[in-house]
């Protein structure tokens, strides 16, 4: 939380986080280049650096993409999410260095400008990497809260969801490039495991978010009234009305009144504090009003009410 913008609002946790990132990057690059020059004395320093930077960025992208679903599966991983933007900027920096070194190595000092050479080149995998780098640059450049506010959260979120596009481009970049040159199946296996881990964690998080949780017996809910349930930390008001059951956020959009203590009046959930009303199926106030609260998927099985803790809509 802040009332002003600062480049980085440092605190102890962020510093610790960044020290761990720096240690990991230095350890990886030091081992890759140092050990590489011993195991492969014929390899040039530029080649080892290009490969080290590229693989470090690709590994870090897997870590970045895994943190989100991991925290949904187990909240104890939330500290990894806290400073994830620094992890992302570090990953972009490594990828950018990889790109610049590769551009110089493979396209500079020729008969055309290096970027022109890149787009004339017959092996398309470098162009895929360039496209991914553009996306990663946009994300890194707008990672600050200044951009979150000025682009609006919706646009900012959409822009940053492009990371999945960048990931697909980079998997193709690696598969059509390095994996076609390096024929060791171990390398193919490592990339396949990485893709499976990222995809598996996302699918698992989705399944967990979409699972139905039994909250109470239908008979326990009085007609046109609600009971308050806490599911995965969410306070949900479960109403019974006209033979149906609805689940909406317990917090009124007006002044935060407890909707579970309200009543269905004229087909609308009515807040006990100031009478604000919401349609139980959509969470929207009846026209011409525009307030909205989150609603949750709900079903009844064998007399038990089951709710998905993942909201269908929210008040944003």
């Amino acid at each position: 939380m802040s009332v002003t913008y600062a480049a980085v609002q440092w605190n102890g946790q962020k510093k610790l986080y960044d020290w761990v990132i720096a240690a990991g990057v230095v350890l990886y690059l030091g081992l890759f280049v140092g050990l590489g020059s011993v195991v492969h004395p014929q390899a040039t320093a530029e080649t080892l650096l290009i490969r080290g930077l590229g693989t470090a960025a690709f590994l870090l992208l897997h870590v970045v993409l895994s943190i989100g679903p991991l925290t949904r599966l187990d909240r104890r991983f939330l500290p990894l999410l806290y400073n994830r933007r620094h992890l992302g900027v570090t990953m972009f920096t490594l990828a950018f260095a990889h790109g610049v070194f590769s551009l110089v190595q493979f396209h500079a000092l020729g008969d055309v400008f290096p970027l022109v050479s890149l787009f004339m080149a017959p092996a398309r995998f470098e162009q895929l990497g360039f496209a991914a780098l553009v996306i990663l640059f946009l994300m890194a450049a707008t990672s600050h809260d200044f951009w979150l506010k000025n682009l609006t959260p919706r646009v900012w979120k959409r822009l940053h969801m492009l990371v999945y596009g960048a990931y697909v481009l980079l998997v193709a970049h690696v598969s059509l490039g390095a994996l076609r040159s390096e024929r060791n199946p171990v390398l193919v296996g490592i990339v396949a495991v990485g893709v499976c881990v990222v995809a598996g964690l996302h699918v698992a998080a989705l399944v967990v978010r979409r699972r139905y949780v039994e909250v109470c017996e239908v008979a326990r809910i009085p007609e046109n009234r609600a009971v308050l349930m806490k599911v995965d930390g969410e306070k949900i008001a479960v109403f019974r009305h006209d033979g149906k059951v609805s689940a909406i956020s317990n917090v009124c959009a007006h002044q935060g009144g407890p909707l579970s203590e309200g009543k269905i009046v004229d087909g609308c959930v009515t807040c006990p504090w100031h009478g604000y009303q919401y349609l139980p199926e959509t969470g929207a106030s009846p026209p011409p009003f525009t307030e909205k609260v989150a609603v949750y998927p709900v079903k009844v099985e064998g007399g038990k009410v089951m709710v998905q803790p993942c909201a269908k809509t929210n008040s944003m």
Partner: protein
Amino acid sequence: MREDEFYVGYLPHAPAGVARVVRRAVVALLVLVVTLSVTLVVAQMPFAEASFEYGVVREFAGVLYEHPFPHVVLQDGAVHLLAGAGKRGSSEVAGHDGHDVRLRGSRILRAGMTMVEVETGSVRFGAASRGPEEVVELGRAALQGEIVDGKCYLGVMNPGVGQVHRDCAARCLAGGLPALFVTEGRVLVLSGFDAKARMDMVGVPLTLEGVRKKIGGLEVFELTGR
């Protein structure tokens, strides 16, 4: 983790249960970092025995020939292909086929073949002292292999073959560097290949049809079709 534990990033310390899990995650990640870096280093394909004597400038004297690519035949009979700086051919020697020549440059060496990256401004020509090199036709052949640029393949880059190096090879050949055809354990100088028009043929496995020749001390494959 106790149910009431809640992590807030700007507070000095994480709750004990959360901190324990994160410490384990960090240790696991560092183990992954070490394991992956070592595995990726070891799993790379071996690098060829090739070298570029970068910064070591030598003097060479002999007779210059321009076909199929500029090369100098030294007084002891050794043949050195010539390259310019960067990804460019040695344009300085154009128009002096058969002339005595003295030049300085750095050697690029691989498997008995030598190329010289000519130092700009170092070339001095003598009289036109020789006629064309002897050409011996060795017959038609269809060979499987890969088109590479001579400068990178012989040692300026390592690896100088394959998919990862493909774009560089195309740029080098478009810049006029000698084309080589790496085929079944042999490396032939490739003649008659238009790199600018057929960049798609560079750096990929393919079959070429042509005539094998011996031009002076160079083994040449002259392209007649794909």
